[in-house]
């Protein structure tokens, strides 16, 4: 169940609480976690760190989640990188927009720790 080589997940959220909770939950499940406070930070971090999964909030200052997803997908190396949207947005149009942008899936806030882990396992093992 625990990945033998630790997979690295990047959590992108402008809310420190949310980043803390995601990090804590995933570290507890044996993942490495790197944090970014907005899309721009995530882009810069990904340029130097290989990550196995990105979990991104949608509403963020500087660069929002959808833009981040589009930018990442435009980079050949990240065409198949799993990217999950972490969102409180309920409406389908946002999810559709996310999928159109290239998101792998979504997690709805408030997330449940077990659920988060199982979703993460589902997309990055």
């Amino acid at each position: 169940m625990e990945p033998s080589v630790k997979k690295k997940v990047m959590t992108v959220d402008d809310s420190r609480t949310m980043r803390d909770m995601v990090s804590f939950t995933l570290r507890g499940a044996g993942y490495d976690v790197v944090e970014a406070a907005d899309g721009q930070q995530a882009m810069s971090a990904i340029a130097v760190t290989k990550v196995d999964l990105v979990i991104t909030d949608l509403n963020m200052p500087v660069m929002d989640g959808l833009t981040l997803i589009r930018r990442l997908r435009a980079i050949p190396a990240h065409r198949t990188l799993p990217i999950l949207m972490l969102t409180t947005e309920a409406d389908e149009s946002k999810k559709a927009e996310g999928r159109a942008a290239g998101a792998t899936g979504w997690i709805v806030k408030p997330f449940n720790p077990d659920k988060l882990v199982s979703v993460v396992q589902k997309v990055c093992g």
């Binding site: 809310s15 609480t17 509403n59 999928r99 899936g105 199982s118 997309v123």
Partner: protein, 765 residues
């Protein structure tokens, strides 16, 4: 999984910041000039509060934040026009949100109906924007769960599970497909699921990976995976980025495993795949599908019946009830867990710590005092140890002080609202500019800044700024500007309130002061002295009592508040161009680095930050002036000499400056003074003991301290000494030192300037 309640404190801290962000944004929001960045920031703030609140199960709060957010979303999408009324409603909503957060923080329920009014007015805007406000039932007063469900049904599905929409697709895919029947009987106590999974070729491009999904299925039970290669093209036609495989998984799972869990696996890919799922249970377990409450919480309900034969049962159920269950668990979980990042500490405890550090400093000074008398050369290690101790004490002191440090932004952030209200009340147009919000000050100082700043800003708007029409007439922009700034300057914090209004009307101030008997008629006062009259008790220039001014709270109260913090206030005004109020405050309140000096039998402490150098003047450097004031030439500059023994009436001290020492000191405004002393004894950290609290205020004295030998020494206030020497008002002894706090000045014709600066009891570190 560990529960997440340990992050509650972070959440509350963060929410407080977000509330401030929202408020700041809302106050800037005005009809006509809508800054989308601002609108987005407000939306995000509310959104984040809602998001975090949901994680902790603060349902009332989440429900209300949702209402708030919906309106902000309307504003964001330009569906709701920005009007003054809207902004007012939103500001009130922000207040309600703050109240809900406060209740959540101390784990009390908000009183029923807290949100009703705000929700109703928020919804009016939605109704106007064309959205049906049918469900405008005033927010149900009943606490948990139900409001969330009724108020935003959309979210509810999502809250229930991550699966809402994906399910329908899966179900549709399944329904028109006959279930391939696997061979063999189903073992007792198990359910056999057959899952046919045919992804579209582009699946990989969304970052989905079928391997992991198969692995996820395996976690649900005993799985047999068959891979179908029928679509696999020849090697020549193969595109590595496309997927050509499909799978059939036969899963033998415990009855607790429900359909939703299997659907979960394919949640993200349901639209891009052909998925068929069917279930088979051992014969005896069959129960009519319709009766079974479908996705029974798996963990709590022992498996009385498997989620029976046909997959039809669970498909119509609300998926992922499991998620909801565990969700509740999180929210109601143990909330005593400490957060890893911040802890809350009772202020008393920190104060005790500060006091202890103070006592330690005194003890250390005492040891140093005794060691000084030891024969030199011996006890080298002891002396070194003492030096180390001094260093550590200093660091400890700084650390302890930094615990109490807070950025002034917590005060500054309240001011936009005040400005807005004052502007509305006076009919003036006001722009507030703030700078230096991150400047850190002791918490006590921050707290005590609110009232003075409130008063000064009110004053600036009410008295200082002209009305928009008048401003236009004299060629100023219609909107007046009030600038609030904070900065560190020479070991103190300096806060300024500047306005570009009409400046102080000196003729009026003077005539009022004479009328009230505060100044003798015919007295000749400098502009600066006249400006400072406004700090006199009982002084008011307001012609009539308005809502803002003339309520008996004057600048004298401001000055008293500031001086009780060990600070001082000054005013600088240019007629027609505006006024500037300058507050200067100590950074911390407990310990300072000082130089101990002796005058006769007395010891004094001079704050190190004031000292420039000490000199032994030659007779040629000294000059006498007509008004008995000695002047000394120091480094090419004339400096007024202050004989401390004369000022304080100390016997047996050196009067001839060439025989003693002159300590050159400097005040914050750069003016210099030469203090004539007998001897400079050495540098020392001293603990500030308030003179006012323990004795009474003395001019020229900032505070008192206890030296290593147990003697009490006074900490001198350089700016105060300057004023005393300038006006010659200090001739006296400790016995009859002028202790005028708020009383009319002793010299009626020259009252104000001294008072503007001399009320301090503490000095800065």
């Amino acid at each position: 999984m560990d529960d997440l309640s340990r992050f509650k404190q972070t959440y509350f801290d963060e929410s407080a910041e977000l509330l401030a962000v929202a408020e700041t944004g809302l106050l800037r929001l005005a009809p006509g000039e809508i800054d989308m960045d601002e609108v987005n920031a407000i939306f995000r703030a509310v959104h984040s509060i809602k998001g975090g609140g949901g994680a902790f199960g603060f349902n009332d709060l989440v429900a209300f934040a949702h209402e708030f957010e919906t309106v902000m979303d309307g504003v964001r999408n330009a569906e709701i026009p920005v009007t003054t009324e809207l902004v007012d409603t939103l500001i009130r909503a922000n207040d309600v949100l703050a109240r809900l957060l406060a209740h959540a923080a101390d784990e009390s329920d908000a009183p029923a109906g807290t949100t009703d009014e705000s929700v109703a007015s928020l919804r009016r805007f939605l109704a106007k924007a064309g959205e049906p406000a049918i469900d405008a039932v005033p927010a149900a007063p009943s606490p948990v769960v139900s409001p969330a469900a009724t108020l935003y049904p959309d979210d509810e599905d999502d809250e229930a599970g991550i699966f809402g929409d994906a399910l329908a697709a899966i179900q549709a895919a399944r329904d028109d497909q006959p279930t391939p029947a696997p061979a063999g009987p189903v073992p007792a106590g198990k359910v056999r699921w057959t899952i046919v999974f045919r992804p579209k070729a582009e699946l990989l491009l969304s970052g989905n990976e079928p391997t992991y999904m198969l692995r996820a299925l395996r976690r649900l039970g005993e799985a047999e995976v068959v891979c179908h290669l029928d679509k696999l093209p020849s090697l020549r036609d193969l595109d590595a980025e496309l997927l050509h495989l499909s799978w059939t998984v036969t899963l033998l799972a415990d009855p607790q495993v429900d359909r939703a869990q299997i659907d979960d696996v394919f949640e993200f890919v349901a639209d891009d795949c052909d998925i068929r799922i069917s279930a088979e249970a051992p014969p005896p377990a069959i129960i009519p599908p319709a009766i079974i409450p479908p996705a029974e919480p798996a963990a709590t309900a022992p498996p009385p019946a498997p989620t029976t034969p046909a997959a039809t049962t669970s498909g119509s159920a609300k998926p992922g009830d499991g998620a909801k269950r565990t969700n509740g668990g999180t929210g109601g979980g143990d909330h005593s867990g400490p957060t890893t990042h911040t802890i809350r500490v009772d202020l008393d405890k920190i104060d005790r710590l500060v006091n202890m550090v103070g006592e330690m400093v005194i003890t250390q000074a005492m040891i140093a005092e005794h060691l000084r008398d030891l024969p030199p050369g011996q006890f080298q290690e002891l002396l070194e140890g003492l030096e180390g101790l001094a260093q550590h004490t200093r660091e400890l002191r700084e650390s302890v002080m930094s615990i109490r440090a807070q950025p002034v932004s917590s005060v500054f952030s309240r001011m936009p609202r005040l400005v807005r209200e004052c502007a509305a009340m006076t009919g003036k147009e006001v722009m507030l500019v703030t700078s230096g919000e991150t400047t850190e000050v002791d918490k006590t100082v921050v707290e005590n800044l609110v009232d003075p700043l409130t008063h000064m800003i009110r004053n600036s708007i009410d008295h200082g700024l002209e009305g928009p029409d008048e401003r236009e007439r004299i060629g100023k922009p219609r909107a007046g500007t009030v600038h609030l700034s904070a900065a560190h300057r020479s070991g103190r914090i300096v806060i300024e309130v500047t306005d570009d209004g009409r400046g102080i009307n000196r003729a009026k101030v003077l005539s009022k002061a004479i009328e009230k008997g505060l100044v003798q008629p015919g007295a000749s006062l400098s502009d600066e002295e006249i400006d400072n009259l406004i700090f006199l008790p009982g002084f008011s220039t307001a012609d009539q009592v308005s809502n803002l001014s003339g309520r008996g709270v004057g600048m004298d109260v401001v000055r008293r508040n500031i001086s009780s913090l060990g600070g001082r206030i000054g005013v600088y005004s240019t007629p027609g161009e505006g006024s500037r109020f300058v507050l200067s405050l100590p950074l911390t309140l407990a310990v300072l680095d000082g130089m101990v000096i002796s005058v006769g039998e007395e010891r004094f402490v001079l704050p190190l930050t004031n000292i420039v150098e000490s000199l032994r003047p030659k007779p040629a450097d000294l000059h006498g002036l007509v008004n008995k004031c000695d002047v000394m030439m120091a480094r090419g500059e004339y400096v007024r000499l202050v004989h401390l023994h004369r000022l304080f009436g100390i016997p047996k001290a050196i009067d001839d400056a060439t025989k003693g020492l002159v300590v050159l000191v400097e005040t914050e405004d750069g003016s210099r003074l030469g203090l004539v002393v007998d001897e400079v004894l050495g540098q020392q950290q001293v603990v500030i003991k308030s003179l006012e609290a323990n004795f009474r205020r003395l001019d020229g004295v900032a505070a008192a301290t206890i030296l290593g030998d147990g003697r009490v020494a006074l900490i001198l206030d350089v700016a105060g000494l300057r004023e005393m020497s300038r006006h010659g008002s200090g001739a006296g002894s400790f016995g009859n030192a002028n202790s005028s706090g708020g009383t009319p000045p002793s010299s009626p014709s020259l009252p104000a300037p001294a008072d503007s600066t001399d009320q301090r009891q503490r000095q800065t570190v």
